[in-house]
Subunit: 216 residues, 4 copies
């Protein structure tokens, strides 16, 4: 018997479901990194995988869902959780890793397109949120909560809001204003802003809710 693997298949009959799935995902990821979201087509993926469009359709209801799964099949997603004891350092490390991915790798470019497409494709939107954004945000939140417990951060700030203000700042650059900067200095800057604030002068006793007296 010959090995039933390899891209070019000959027969028609049934194959193990997992094998088919895997080949489709690999093909999807390859195509995605090669052509970007524009040239990404169910038809091409099926052809690449030596599968039938029907089969692809059976498991992935939309182009977006397939692209998403393909992406994470190909792009190894290492979720390391640095803990140096200092918040600023930990946050900066995580952000820089992200910025590097988005700025310097093909995968970053694709991920950007993926997020873009998610605005139209609800399937992809859900997948992206639940299986990409939230898990990563959670790691970030963990870092923040740890810092709170250590007394490095105020206890009354909402960690999720911080995530928005740090990660969101990067995404904003990527998705809305265009991508040129996104330097390490930018990361340093926004972390510092976040930590110490941008206001001048001696803080009043109730910064947490009010505006300082003496300012009209």
């Amino acid at each position: 018997m010959s090995s039933p693997s390899a891209r070019g298949r000959r027969g028609r009959g049934r194959r193990a479901a997992d094998q088919v799935r895997q080949e489709i995902l690999q093909a999807a990821g390859d195509l995605l990194l090669e052509s970007g979201m524009a040239g990404f087509t169910v038809e091409k993926v099926a052809a690449l995988a030596g599968a039938s469009r029907v089969t692809v359709h059976k498991w992935w209801p939309s182009k977006g869902a397939l692209a998403f799964d393909g992406y994470f099949t190909v792009v190894a997603s290492t979720l390391d959780d640095p803990d140096t004891g200092d918040v600023a350092t930990d946050l900066t490390t995580q952000l820089r890793a992200f910025v590097h991915l988005m700025r310097d790798t093909r995968a970053g470019l694709v991920l950007r397109e993926l997020i873009g497409h998610a605005q139209i494709d609800p399937e992809l939107s859900t997948a992206l949120r639940e299986r990409y954004a939230l898990p990563r945000a959670q790691r970030f939140i963990d870092t923040l909560e740890r810092a709170k417990r250590k007394g490095q951060l105020r206890a009354d700030v909402n960690s999720e809001d911080i995530v928005c203000q740090l990660w969101g700042a990067c995404y904003f650059q990527l998705l809305v204003t265009g991508r040129p900067p996104l330097t390490d200095e930018f990361v340093t800057s926004i972390v510092r802003n976040m930590l110490v604030g941008i206001r001048t002068g001696p803080p009043t006793a109730d910064d947490a809710g009010r505006r300082p007296a003496g300012v009209s």
Copy 2:
């Protein structure tokens, strides 16, 4: 002579270019708000405007470009620049207006799709950056710079970074984590975080400009 206006046309020949353009833009905007980016089609726009696809193609090279122009034809873009004298108030006002648009109106939904589509369509990406994002960011920056001059904000912070951290926080919610919150409280929270920072404890003497002693 009869008025040559109105949607239903009679002959075949030429119409004033500007009139055609305007009708196409109006149709594009209408269709966009009605069907969203999914059902938005050059073909339908042309039909709605009583125009020919060729004519549409002549002026708008891509679906995205047409959608963008149509959007701003229909969505009145009021760029008022509040100046109450207090940074926090001004920033909050601007952000809340934006949040309201994105959260409560059909236009917000469409704008989100537009930004999404821009990740794939370079034409749209450029248009969006230059004719939407940058002008609006500039108003924000103006507010920040004014506050700097008044001594309300530290002079060493980069205003563009602040824009990223405030607007970006909102966009992040909308585009990446899904939309549920985006409340007024969220806006209040991120502005306060931004102003006073999230760090605890007695500020050191040289907190990047200094933070006051005695922060609660």
Copy 3:
């Protein structure tokens, strides 16, 4: 289960290829006889057949090829081979049948247009030659060869040339000089001319092999 035939279809999926082909051909033939080559359009054929333009394109590379096939689907092409024993009679019979078709029927008009279109469309040109002209010419040649064997015709004449001179005479009227005559008398005349020649004077004993004296 209900019969899956009939024009009005329900689902989207596949129909038997042959059925689709047949319906397209029928529609093509119908449209051709109704509107002539001018109003004949791939789009209309597809609509009439309840088929998709793509499907039509798959099998018929050009408008001409489709028209040709449609024509012979609708126009029954009876190729009877008369054999009365007398050449003149047989030839006259065949030519009159052809003349009748071209002069008195809608199909004749269409065939004329088809031949015209073939001058521009190589696909159609080939089809017309191989699947229309040649088979019909062959029947004519058979008649001539039979007559040769019987000694009714000179053995040294080229049968194909005769076909050109008889059929060609009719086509010439139709295609070049305009169509008015093409009467039965015309047929009688050209057959007689062909058989006995148009030269005057006492025939020499061996006209069959030589050219008349005086012709260089």
Copy 4:
């Protein structure tokens, strides 16, 4: 004053009608010989002539009419009428000249397409008949009538029918069966067939009306 001739015009105003006409015709002829009937377009002709489509339309109601006029503007049509005193020679000469044109020159190819297009375009059909086919046929008929008067041809044959059987034979090759042969030998053959007939046996005294006795 600058010369208003030359292909590339710059101004817009009025030019002498004849000049415009002539430039259009020249452009039409050039384009026709270059691209054939397929690539022949009113638009391209107008562009080539530096004229407006409207102007072209004013004088030539259809693409066919324009092509026809353009053709004869460019292709010099020499109508020499040979008279050697011998019919066979004269006929052969005329036919060979025609065959040469059609077989060996670009103009022949175009003329074939022109005749083809005439089957669809009535304007062209009329023009072709009245200003091309009939005049040329007349010269041929003149030759035949001259031969009749000299007693070389039987007086009871219809000259027009002979034209059909000789020219028609050539056109038939060109238009219907495909073009390969059309040799000088073919011409020789059909002229001889025409003159002496293809029947065997000694001609009876009244070949002109009856079939020979003894042939059933």
